[in-house]
Symmetry: C2
Subunit: 761 residues, 2 copies
C-alpha cells in the first residue's frame, strides 16, 4: 500500500501543475525601472513585512540641500543600479513619496566595513556589486548573488517576519550588518532614536523611531540568528553631546545595550564554505515583546523552503481569485503581476494577537477584524478598493474598519487621507476615505456600523481647517489666491460629497443627504464656460486671468493639468458633458486629449511619470484621468472607449522592469489594468455601476467570496478585434455599455462578442 503513495502523490502533483499556477506569471521585477517605484523583494499578500533589496538610499536632503534623486528610491530599488546596499524590512509599493526602509541587513565577508560605500566604489563600504543574471524575484521569494562578498542572499517572508538566508563562501571573516541609520527618503536628523538589546548570542531586539513622512513613527523588531554570533559591536555616528556614566563601558564591542540617533551594528560569525546563516526578523508596531511573539508564532522553526512555500501558497490562493485564459504569455504576466501589485497594499498593521499602535500612540487591539495601514487613498479609491469589493470584500471591509479606527484615534477627527504606521501624513488632496466607505456600503459590503461610518465621513467633510474646506463650504469653491491646487480640491471635494450623499440617502438621513448633494454640485462653480475648462477662481469670484490649460504647475491643479482635470466629475458625467458642449463636442474634445502633441516644455513639469506614462496629453501615469477613457461611454461613442482602453493597456503596461509608465501607487495602476483587461471599470466609486470597455483576455473566472463565480467569456478577441459587438449577461443582451455590481455578484456568465470594426450605434 505504502509503495503506492509516492507515485500517486507524484501524479497528483503533475495534475496540479497542469492546472496552471498563476504564480509563475508574476514578475515582481516589473516596475522597478524608472517610475514604477515597485520593489522586487519578498512579501506575502497584504503583509506587514516587505523584505527587499535597497540599491541605494539617497538622502532627501543633506546639509540643507534637496536631492532630486531621492525620488527614484521611493521603493529602495532601481533596476539600472549595479550595487545592492542591503535588505530592509519595510517598503511602499509604487508610491511617489516615501519613508520606511527600516532595519537594513547586509551580510559581508572580509574586512568589516560599517559604512555603505558608494555606488561607483562599492569596495569602499559594505555594499556589493550584483548582476541581474543571478537575480530571481518571485512572490515571497528573492534571490541574488552579492558578488563582492561571494554571498548568495535569499529572502522570504511571512506576514510579520522577514526570513533571510545567506550562503557564505567560508574561510573568511563573516559579518552581518544591521544598519539602523539607513532608511528611505532619509535626511539629517530623520532618525529620532534607535534602541537595541543583544538579548543573548542569537537574539537581538530593539526599535527605530523616525520623523519623516510619518512624523512620529516607531517600529519595533526582534531578530534571531540560526547560529550564535562570535562577537558584535556598534558605531554611533551621531554627535551626541552627553555620554553620562555609560563611559564606564567600552560600548563599541560586545556591549549588549546600544542606543542613539545614528547607529550601525555588526555581528561576526565563523562560517564553513557553503554554510548558511539564517535570520528571522520580526516587526511590531507595539513592542519588542510583540515582535518576538510574532516571530515565534509565525516562524517557529528554521525551514527556509517551507516558509517560502507557505508564502507562495498564500499568493497562489489570492491570485487564483481571478483565473484568466489568454493566448498571450505577456498578457498573463501583465495580469498576474498586476494582481500581485494590487494585493500588496494596504498592509497588515497588527501583531498576531491583534495589538497595534494607534494614531494616538497608544496601543489598541483589533477585535474581530484585521487592522491595516498604508492607505494611499487619493490613488486607491479609484479602482483598487472597488476591485477589493469584487474579489476581496472581507479585506475591504476590514480596511474600512481600520479607517474608522483611524478616525476614532485621530485628534483631528478625520478619516485617513494618506496614512501609514500610525501616522497621518496628509499626502495629496481630498478626503477619499468617504469614497471607499460609500462604495462598500452602496455595493452591500458593509459589515460595520454604517451610521457611525457616515458620521465619520461627515465630520471629515466638515473639517473647516482642512486644506481650503472652509472656503469651499462658504463659497462653493476654493479661491486659488487663498489655497493652491484649488480646482483639483474643489472638484474632488464635490465628488467626495456626492459619495457622502449616497450613504445618507441609502440609510435615510435626509438632512445629511440634502447638505452633501448640494455640495456635490460645487464642481459647476469652477467651470469656465468661456474657456471650456475647469479653471481657478479667486476670492472675488472672477476666474484667474492667466491660465494655461496644458501646464501642470501653479494653475490650480495637482498631478494633472486643466485638460485632464476638467474631466473630473465622476459622479455626474452627463451634466459635465452637457456643460462642456454636449456629447458630440465632448467626444471630440476627448479625442483631442488623446491625440494632441504635448510640447516638451509641459512634459518636463509633469509629475511622477515618464514620457511612457502619457498618450498625447492624456496622463495615465497619474491618477486623475484614470476614468477618462471610459467617458466616451456617456457620449454615445462606446467604441472609442474600447479603442482607447486597449491602446492604454498596450502602451502603459508590459512585462519587464520598465513595464509601468508611472508610479504603481499602491496598486491603483494595477487595479486599473485588471478591471480594464476584464472589460469593465468603476468610473464612479460610490455608485453600483461599471462602465464596460474592451476585455483583453479570452476568458476570466472570478471566484467571489459569496461562493459564486462570474465567468467572463470573450469571443473572437484579438489585438485587432478590440470592438465590442454584443454583450450577454447570463444570456440576456445588455442594451447599455454599463453593468451593475449586483449583476456581477449574482455570478454567472458575462459574454463579450468582439470584432475588428466599431459598432457605431
Amino acid at each position: 500500500m505504502k509503495k503506492l503513495v509516492l507515485p500517486l502523490l507524484l501524479c497528483l502533483s503533475l495534475l496540479l501543475q497542469a492546472q496552471e499556477n498563476p504564480l509563475s506569471y508574476v514578475k515582481p521585477i516589473t516596475g522597478t525601472q524608472k517610475m514604477g517605484h515597485t520593489y522586487p523583494g519578498a512579501t506575502v499578500p497584504f503583509g506587514m513585512v516587505q523584505l527587499s533589496p535597497e540599491t541605494d538610499t539617497i538622502p532627501y536632503e543633506m546639509n540643507g540641500k534637496y536631492n532630486p534623486d531621492v525620488y527614484k528610491y521611493c521603493a529602495g530599488y532601481q533596476y539600472e543600479d549595479k550595487t545592492i546596499v542591503g535588505f530592509s524590512h519595510t517598503h511602499f509599493s509604487g508610491t511617489g513619496h516615501s519613508d520606511l526602509g527600516d532595519f537594513l541587513i547586509m551580510p559581508t565577508t572580509g574586512k568589516l566595513q560599517l559604512n555603505p560605500g558608494t555606488a561607483t566604489h562599492p569596495e569602499t563600504g559594505y555594499r556589493s556589486s550584483f548582476s541581474h543574471s543571478t537575480e530571481v524575484a518571485e512572490p515571497a521569494y528573492y534571490k541574488v548573488k552579492l558578488d563582492d562578498h561571494n554571498i548568495l542572499a535569499e529572502l522570504t517572508a511571512s506576514n510579520r517576519v522577514g526570513f533571510h538566508q545567506y550562503t557564505f563562501p567560508g574561510n573568511e571573516p563573516a559579518h552581518i550588518i544591521l544598519d539602523m541609520m539607513s532608511g528611505l527618503y532619509n535626511y539629517d536628523n530623520k532618525n529620532v532614536w534607535s534602541f537595541i538589546r543583544v538579548e543573548n548570542d542569537s537574539l537581538v531586539t530593539g526599535f527605530r523611531q523616525t520623523n519623516g513622512w510619518g512624523r512620529t513613527r516607531i517600529v519595533y523588531f526582534a531578530m534571531t540568528f540560526s547560529k550564535p554570533f562570535t562577537a558584535y559591536g556598534q558605531q554611533n555616528y551621531a554627535q551626541d553631546v552627553y555620554k553620562g556614566f555609560w563611559r564606564k563601558f567600552d560600548q563599541t564591542r560586545n556591549f549588549p545595550e546600544m542606543a542613539g540617533k545614528q547607529l550601525r551594528t555588526y555581528f561576526d560569525f565563523n562560517t564553513a564554505p557553503g554554510e548558511k546563516i539564517q535570520i528571522k526578523f520580526a516587526l511590531s508596531s507595539v513592542s519588542t515583546a510583540g515582535a518576538l511573539r510574532n516571530l515565534r508564532t509565525e516562524i517557529p522553526g528554521w525551514d527556509f523552503n517551507a516558509v517560502k512555500a507557505a508564502g507562495q501558497e498564500l499568493w497562489s490562493k489570492e491570485l487564483r481569485k481571478i483565473q484568466i485564459e489568454s493566448r498571450s504569455k505577456e498578457e498573463k504576466e501583465n495580469f498576474y503581476t498586476a494582481m500581485y501589485h494590487a494585493f500588496i497594499n494596504p498592509t497588515t498593521y497588527m501583531d498576531v494577537d491583534g495589538a497595534y499602535r494607534g494614531l494616538d500612540m497608544n496601543n489598541h487591539t483589533a477585535n474581530g477584524y484585521t487592522n491595516y495601514s498604508t492607505f494611499s487613498l487619493w490613488d486607491t479609491y479609484r479602482a483598487l478598493h472597488p476591485l477589493f469589493n469584487v474579489i476581496q470584500p472581507q479585506r475591504n471591509a476590514d480596511m474600512i474598519q481600520s479607517m474608522l479606527q483611524h478616525y476614532n484615534q485621530s485628534v483631528q477627527h478625520m478619516l485617513p487621507i494618506w496614512s501609514h504606521h500610525a501616522n497621518e501624513n496628509w499626502c495629496m488632496i481630498g478626503y477619499h476615505s468617504v469614497s471607499v466607505i460609500a462604495d462598500a456600503i452602496i455595493k452591500g459590503n458593509a459589515p460595520f456600523d454604517v451610521n457611525a461610518a457616515l458620521d465619520a465621513c461627515v465630520a471629515t467633510a466638515r473639517h473647516r481647517a482642512y486644506d481650503g474646506l472652509g472656503y469651499y463650504m462658504d463659497m462653493g469653491y476654493i479661491p486659488e489666491d487663498k489655497i493652491g491646487a484649488s480646482v483639483s480640491k474643489t472638484l474632488e471635494y464635490a465628488y467626495d460629497d456626492w459619495c457622502i450623499a449616497q450613504i445618507a440617502q441609502k440609510i435615510g438621513r435626509t438632512d445629511i443627504y440634502t447638505e452633501f448633494i448640494k455640495r456635490a454640485g460645487y464642481y459647476r462653480n469652477v467651470f469656465d464656460a468661456r474657456s471650456g475648462f475647469m479653471r481657478p477662481r479667486l476670492s472675488d469670484g472672477t476666474f484667474k486671468a492667466s491660465f494655461d490649460a496644458l501646464q501642470t504647475h501653479d494653475q490650480g491643479f495637482i498631478e494633472g493639468n486643466a485638460w485632464n482635470y476638467s474631466l473630473y466629475v465622476p459622479h455626474d458625467p452627463t451634466e459635465m458633458i452637457t456643460m462642456m458642449g454636449g456629447k458630440k463636442q465632448f467626444a471630440a474634445h476627448l479625442d483631442s486629449l488623446f491625440t494632441m502633441e504635448l510640447p516638451d516644455k509641459y512634459f518636463a513639469e509633469t509629475e511622477d511619470i515618464t514620457r511612457d506614462g502619457i498618450i498625447g496629453n492624456y496622463v495615465h501615469g497619474n491618477e486623475p484621468s484614470h476614468h477618462v477613457a471610459y467617458l466616451y461611454n456617456y457620449t454615445g461613442y462606446p467604441w472609442k472607449t474600447q479603442e482607447r482602453v486597449r491602446m492604454i493597456l498596450k502602451k502603459m503596461y508590459h512585462p519587464g522592469p520598465d513595464g509601468l509608465g508611472g508610479n504603481d501607487d499602491c496598486g491603483q495602476m494595477s487595479a486599473w489594468y485588471i478591471f480594464s483587461t476584464l472589460g469593465f471599470y468603476p468610473v464612479c466609486p460610490g455608485s453600483d455601476q461599471y462602465a464596460l470597455g474592451s476585455p483583453a483576455i479570452d476568458k476570466a473566472t472570478l471566484q467571489l467570496e459569496n461562493g459564486k463565480s462570474l465567468v467572463i467569456k470573450v469571443k473572437n478577441q484579438g489585438d485587432k478585434n478590440v470592438y465590442v459587438q454584443r454583450v450577454l449577461l447570463n444570456g440576456q443582451p445588455l442594451r447599455e455599455p454599463f453593468i451593475t455590481h449586483a449583476d456581477m455578484m449574482r455570478g454567472g456568465e458575462l459574454t463579450f462578442f468582439m470584432g475588428a470594426k466599431p459598432l457605431k450605434q
Copy 2:
C-alpha cells in the same frame, strides 16, 4: 442632639491638634540653598509626581561648552534666585547629578511670551520675579506669588497627578504655557521627541522623550484644565529639515497635534479678577491612556483643598511612624524634615493599574507589589534602606522586588546601580543593590524569592565587563593603571561581596558563600602598610608611587580621599583596625581625621559639598565616611563616637534653606540624621547589628509594622549631656555599644542614661 455635634467635633479637632501633628515641623525649603539639592514643591510620600518650581534651567552644555552652574540646578531650585521659570512635574531630591524637569507649566498674563527670559531680565520672557515672603512650602503643598504676572500659584499632588491652582488678576490676557523644551541638566539635542494632542478644549495628552542621564527615557502625560481654553498654539524651536504635507496646515495656532524636538505651547484663557484656573497633570511611564487613567482615578474632581488635605494626611501617617519628644523646636524641625526627605525616594513607578515601562522598553505589570524607581543606591544602601527595614519594611521589600524586576529586564543581567524611569544610568560605583537585598534578608524582611535574589546578586557581582570587576576577580584588586578610582571600587566590591556571602550563608549555598567570603577579604589587597592608607596599586602589583592621601581627584578614589576611604571596611572593622595599628592607634588616627586642618587647595577639589560639609578632613557631605564616627565603638572609645556624632548632628543639619551641608542624596543624609538622633546607626548593612551613638532627643516612639512599638527613652539628655552612661533594653543593661535588629523589632523600651562626662571604660 444635632446642635451638639459641631462643638463636639471642634473639641475633637482641638484634642487632635494637641496631639502634635509632625507635619508642621517639616520644612521642605531645607536644603534648597547651596548644595542640598532638595526641592520645595509638592509631592506625596514616595510619589511619582514631584511638582516643584524651577528657578532656573541652566543647560549642562550648550554649543559644546560645559556649564558648571548646571550642577546647582539638580533639583531645579536655588534659594538665592529671584525668579521662577515655572513648575515642572519630576524632580530628584538631593542628587548630585540630574535629569527630569518634565513638563514645565507657567501661568502668565499680558503679552504672550514663549521664551523663558533671563534671571536678570525676567520681563524678556515668561518667567516671573518672586519673593520668599509670599512663599509657603509644606509637605504636599507649595504656594508662591508670581509677582510679574500678579498670579498666585498653588501646587499640590497625589501620587501620580500634579494639581495646579492659579489665581489670576483678571482683566488681562491670561496664558498657561506648557514648555516641552525645558528640562533639568538640559543640553542641545537632549530632547529626542515631543508629542502633544489637544484632545478637546480642556484635555491635552502627550509625551516627552529625552536622551540624558536616562538614555532612552519617555514620560507620558495627560492634563486637564478646570476651564476650557479659548485658543492655543505652539512654537517649534528645532531646525527640523522636513515638514512634509503638514504644511497644509497652520500648525502654530489651534492645531491639535503638535510634534517635534523642541516645542513650547500655550493655552489662552479669559479670566475674571480673582478667578482660579486649575490644572490636573498626570504622568505615566506607559501611555497617555495610562496617564489619563491615573488622572481620573486619583483626582476625579476639582477640589484643590481636598487633594492637598489628602496629600498632607499621607505625610502625617508616614511621619507619625516615629514620634519624638524634644525640648528643641529646631530638633523637631530637623527630625521631621529629615523624615520627609527620607520618604520622597525611591519613587512610585507604575500606573494605578500596576503597569509600568521596564528597562527593556516593554510594558510590564507589577503584580502584588508597588513598583519603585529612583534608586540612588551608592548613597541609600548605607542608612536609608536600613531605616526602611525598621519603619518601612513593606515598602523596602517592594523596592527589592522592583530591583529584582530591574535585574530580570536588564540586558546586562545586573541589579540596579543607579536607576530611574526605566533606565540604568550607571552613576557611581559598586553594586550596592546586593547590600540592600542582604540587609533585608538578614533582618528577616524578605517576602520574596531569596534564592532568586541571591542568583541576581551573584550574576551582578560576576559581571566581568563592569567597571574593573574582571581585574578584581582575577587579581584581587583593581589596578589603577587600568581603571580609575580603583581603591574605592575594590573596597566597595569587597563589602558588597561580603553581603552576598551573608545571604549565601543564611540559605546554605556554601559554594557561593566560599567564593564571596574570599572576595570580601580583597580590601586587604589595597592596604599599604607603609603609608597606613588604602592606596592604589598598579597592574604589576606595586603601589602607585605618587600618592596624596588628602587629595580627592586622580588618587584612586571617588567622592573621598584616602584618609576617608581607608576607613571603608564596614564588614570587618576589627580586622581593619588591627591592620591599621590596633585600637589605640586607630582611635588617634580617627581623632586626626576630625581635627586636622584641610588646606584650601584640597577642599577646592572635594566634590558635591560646601565647606559646611566638612569637619577637619572628615567629609560628611559625601557618603563614604557616613559610618566613620561610629568606628570608635570598635576601639573601646564609644564616648568618642557619642561626642563626634553629636558634633556632626549639630554642625551638619539645621532648619532653613542652607540646612544641609551636602547633597541630601535621595534621603541618605537625612537617614543618617534620623538614625543618629535616635542613638544608633547601621555601620554595616547586611549585618543585624547597629552601633549605638548618642541620642539627641528626649524620647522617641517607633511604630513598627509588626504592630509593636519601640520606645527610646533618653534620660538627662542635653547639649552637654551627650555621653551615654548606661543603656537598658527592656530593663536589661547592654554591655556593648551595639544592639541587634531583632532586639529592636521585639519592641519595648530602650533607655539611655546620659551625662556630661564620657564613660571612659
